[in-house]
């Protein structure tokens, strides 16, 4: 599998943001195991617990009580994000903990968020994995959009699939909202959204079509923007063979229905050993390297390692 290049890849670490519209789909388990698997290839990895309200990543990478966390950075007790990078028992893997940060920072303001993103981009590592919170709050969407790849974790359940589509739609509209530098485009979008045509806008594709009828130039600018939005998904807890197809099927549905590219980066099998690894507070890829889950994680991790560190052209 080749991870599709993103034309907007900046220099610095490759940032992978992992979210999921729904809690309890195994986001943190997936993030921790991918980060460990990439670190085991010799690349330097920072894993950031950006679940600013329900942080528990630290336990999964074997750092029971990190001394410093994001709250120390946001409240300026430390000057740089690098200062709160905590070594983990895994070589080449550092943790930036969100633990205990919830009261002060669960809703960082715009400036704090921007500062955090700038510092993440300056970390002296090859990869940064951002474990985002559940839901579609603007903070989650903004971290998702700023990453090299925004990755949704879904499980083969109707509610998870439904949430994933909701998330994709929300992230896409958020992206369009952020990227309307031209007054002309904004005016055209507003004209659609404030008119009766709004009722016909259920998907990004509908919005594009409606804007096109109002202002063809603005429509073209929106389409240009849409082409840079390519989220991806990982299907977790796959139990039956036909569920392994879910990721690619959702990709097809997304393309047909939303006009959005959605790449599937892997299907991770349901594996009782994963639960045991959580109980033992160690990542499954280390504790049970022979498990089917670990094998699938390593395959996806290899694609992250192969992804070019800087987009060309």
């Amino acid at each position: 599998m080749i991870i599709e290049a993103d034309v907007h890849a900046p220099p610095g670490p490759r940032i992978w943001a992992i979210g999921g519209g729904k809690g309890g789909v195994g986001k943190s388990v997936v993030t921790a195991n991918l980060a460990v698997a990439v670190a085991r290839t010799g690349e330097r990895v920072a894993v950031v617990d950006a679940d600013l309200g329900g942080a528990n990543l630290h336990t999964m990478v074997g750092v029971p009580s990190p001394k410093l966390n994001l709250a120390d950075f946001i409240s300026r007790r430390v000057a740089t994000l690098a200062e709160i990078m905590t070594p983990t028992p895994v070589e080449n893997l550092w943790l930036i903990s969100g633990a205990k940060a919830l009261l002060e920072t669960a809703n960082p303001n715009f400036g704090q968020k921007g500062k955090m993103l700038r510092h993440i981009a300056m970390l002296d590592v090859d990869h940064v994995f951002l474990d985002l919170g559940a839901g579609t709050a603007f903070n989650v969407l903004d971290f998702f959009l700023v990453a090299r790849k925004g990755i949704l974790v879904v499980v083969p359940e109707a509610t998870s699939v439904e949430n994933a589509y909701f998330f994709i739609k929300a992230a896409y509209f958020r992206k369009l909202k952020q990227a309307q530098p031209r007054a002309q485009v904004k005016a055209a979008v507003d004209a659609v959204m404030n008119s009766r045509a709004r009722e016909r806008v259920r998907t990004p594709r509908d919005l594009m079509a409606q804007v096109m009828t109002v202002d063809a130039d603005a429509g073209a600018a929106l389409m240009e923007e849409a082409s840079t939005f390519s989220p991806s998904i990982i299907v977790n807890r796959v139990e039956r063979a036909e569920q392994a197809r879910l990721g690619n099927e959702m990709g097809s549905a997304c393309r047909d229905y939303f006009g959005i590219r959605l790449q599937c980066l892997g299907s991770f099998p349901a594996d009782n050993l994963v639960r045991r690894s959580i109980d033992e507070r160690r990542p499954a890829v280390d504790l049970f390297p022979q498990s089917s889950f670990a094998a699938a994680v390593r395959t996806t991790a290899a694609a992250f390692v192969r992804a070019p560190s800087e987009a060309t052209g």
């Binding site: 589509y165 039956r240 036909e242 392994a244 197809r245 099927e249 959702m250 097809s252 094998a295």
Partner: protein
């Protein structure tokens, strides 16, 4: 009948010029995606949109093949699909470097296809499919044909990297 347009191929998830076996596979997969029991489109479309989409898929099929699509084998609306007649594989996918033949068989079973069904879709005879899966180097034809068969096989299953699989397969079996 109007000629096939690029959009028709795209709607079937195919590149223009795909052969009939590929088109039939695509039709089956696309119909499955938009049936009402499909998990991947859960709550994404309402019933009218589903029907419209299935009609568009059949229409695209008519234009690219020039004939009527086979009747849909779909179950009554809302019913789960029948269990595939082929035993589903368990465990992880085999490593394409060390067991490319087993990987092909794994993906075939994942799609619920028997060797016979795959033979019907790919027009590769059953015995040869079996030899491909078992990496039976004594019986396999020359490398250039094996490459073609592996490509056809991988494409018929909708695998996303047929060229890579074919290269790994040839690297493994080392045919002269």
């Amino acid at each position: 009948m109007s000629p096939a347009r690029y959009e028709d191929w795209k709607l079937l998830d195919l590149e223009p010029g795909a052969d009939l076996a590929e088109i039939n596979t695509a039709l089956r997969l696309r119909r499955a995606l938009y049936q009402s029991g499909s998990l991947a489109t859960y709550n994404l479309l309402d019933d009218d949109e589903r029907r419209a989409m299935l009609e568009r898929i059949d229409e695209a099929y008519r234009r690219v093949t020039g004939h009527e699509p086979p009747p849909s084998s779909s179950q009554p609306r809302g019913e789960p699909a029948a269990a595939p007649p082929v035993e589903e594989p368990s465990g992880p996918a085999p490593d394409p470097r060390t067991e490319p033949g087993a990987l092909l068989a794994f993906h075939r079973r994942c799609r619920g296809l028997s060797i016979g069904q795959l033979s019907a879709e790919t027009k590769i005879r059953v015995a040869l499919l079996q030899q491909l899966e078992s990496e039976n180097t004594d019986e396999l034809p020359e490398a250039v044909f094996v490459r073609g068969h592996v490509l056809t096989y991988a494409r018929a299953l909708g695998m996303d990297n047929p060229n890579e699989i074919a290269a790994l397969y040839l690297a493994k079996v080392k045919l002269d």
